[in-house]
Amino acid sequence: MSVAVTVRHLEKSFGRYPALRDVSLGVDAGELIALLGPSGSGKTTLLRAIAGLEQIDSGEVLFGDVDATKLTLRERRIGFVFQHYALFRHMTVLDNIAFGLRARPRSTRPSSQLIRTRVRELLELVQLDGLEDRYPTQLSGGQRQRVALARALAIEPRVLLLDEPFGALDAKVRKDLRRWLRELHERTKHTTVFVTHDQDEAFELADRVAILSEGKIEQVGTVAEVFNKPSTAFVADFLQATELRSTQNKAHQGSVVWMRRPA
């Protein structure tokens, strides 16, 4: 079901401001990869370019060996979870999750009975059984996030893309959801790309991490690889901040201190 994603020589600029500069990245089928970088590094633009929500100036996006830039959004079949979830505010949880299936052309649309069953299964998967008649405003942040995920999963996406999936949640919920998302990934094995600026999040959740800065990919690798062999000065500097923080955390018994070693 899931496919590998290959990005080659991607270029994108907003006016005169270059957002992506010759970005190449390979994501294996079933892999969970994090795009990590400070704000303005181009990570969300890269995610949106893979999704097809952003027109690219040049370069290639491949799903398996299909050129995705030639596909319409419908044909791409990606599951996108937006930073603020973008749930349809006037629809119930059930209608939100069923949206993608109901929007299909009549020939490929499942029966309404089947759609209901599918929504129930998904609600169970994201542990929200019984909430199908609620509206988004009646849900907590964590619940909304899981509805957004269920809605994205409903169309059986080839690739799952998450934009700052935990950004809008408080720390406690964030930790629980992080673990839960990892378990979900183990079970469903969707090719998943997620964007984050939080290093702990990236390292805890992802198989590999791609570190971006100023529209360029600085390094791609596992946690051990980027820590032991940072390939650029930026990566070394960027990661030290985390390392320093975690040692300080221990020293201060969990009080959060964010420090950057002077360059």
Binding site: G52, F82, A86, L87, A103, I155
Partner: protein, 289 residues
């Protein structure tokens, strides 16, 4: 919309007025409203019915009056549908897309609010009139715009254009594009996205804008007066007809037609406040999310 600002949780008395000041302020406001709003409205109805219901009804038997009512309804229907569709398209373009000249377009949309309706009418006379820029060309084709129904429709459209767009733009801007993007990413077509996501999110605001637009379209006097030519039974709308009747000292008929126009305004007002209740709820829901 106005009642939204009252929701602020201010403790009673926090603003510190004495009961005397409060009473003075309230009675000033009530007195003002009574003299300048309610009294004229009551006078319109009293004058209309002064010589009894029979004479009142008789006023509407007049074919010129009937044709004025019909023309007003026709013009309002065309102008309101046009402005609803074009206003929606303009709001969509402004709120959901980035392009050069966006601010200019925003300013242009507001223009009809800031210029005198008489000028809005004159613009069309200059364009399409017998001695206007396009007048001779149109006349040679046998197309009559000024002193005919098309001119009245055009003038009404221009004057009432901002109502729908002004109502929709801020709402659509605050809602952003992420729901539409979500719908598209889930495989919906552009049309499905519009019908199932965009339209339901703006329906109350759209209806509200249409109501205001309609009220103004029916009541428009200045711009229509310039382009209409006041031909009885042909190019007289209700407001113009009222003026003619009044100038002919036919007070009962003038006020009878005025009663009808005022009733339309009252219906609009009631519909508007009902909508406002719905719309405010929806706005609150929006802000919570």
């Amino acid at each position: 919309m106005s009642d939204l600002s009252i929701n602020a949780d201010v403790a009673p008395g926090a603003t510190g007025e004495t009961p005397l000041v409060k009473a003075a302020l309230i009675s000033t406001a009530v007195l003002f409203l009574a003299v300048f709003l309610f009294l004229p409205l009551i006078v319109v109805f009293l004058e209309g019915f002064r010589k009894g219901v029979g004479v009142f009804m008789e006023s509407f038997a007049d074919p010129d009056t009937l044709s004025a009512v019909k023309l007003t309804l026709l013009v309002a229907t065309i102008a309101v549908s046009f402005n609803a569709i074009v206003g929606l398209a303009a709001s969509w373009a402004i709120a959901k897309h980035h392009f050069k000249g966006k601010n200019l377009l925003l300013t242009l949309i507001d223009l009809p609010f800031s210029i005198s309706p008489v000028i809005s009418g004159l613009v069309y006379v200059l364009l399409f009139g017998a001695h206007g820029w396009l007048g001779p060309l149109l006349q040679s084709q046998g197309i009559q715009i000024i002193f005919a129904v098309p001119g009245i429709v055009l003038a009404t459209i221009l004057v009432t254009f901002p109502f729908v767009a002004r109502e929709l733009i801020p709402l659509m801007q605050s809602q952003g594009t992420s729901e539409e993007e979500a719908a598209l990413s889930l495989g919906a077509s552009g049309w499905q996205t519009f019908m199932k996501v965009t339209l339901p999110n703006i329906k109350w605001a759209l209806l509200y804008g249409v109501l205001l637009c309609n009220a103004r379209a029916m009541g428009e006097f200045g711009a229509v007066s310039v382009v209409s030519g006041h031909i009885r039974g042909l190019t007289n709308t209700m407001p113009l007809h009222i003026e003619i009747l009044y100038n002919e000292y036919n007070f009962v008929a003038a006020f009878a037609v005025a009663t009808l126009l005022a009733s339309l305004a009252l219906v609009t007002l009631v519909a508007k406040s009902v909508l406002e209740r719905h719309y405010a709820g929806e706005l609150n829901a929006l802000q919570r999310q």
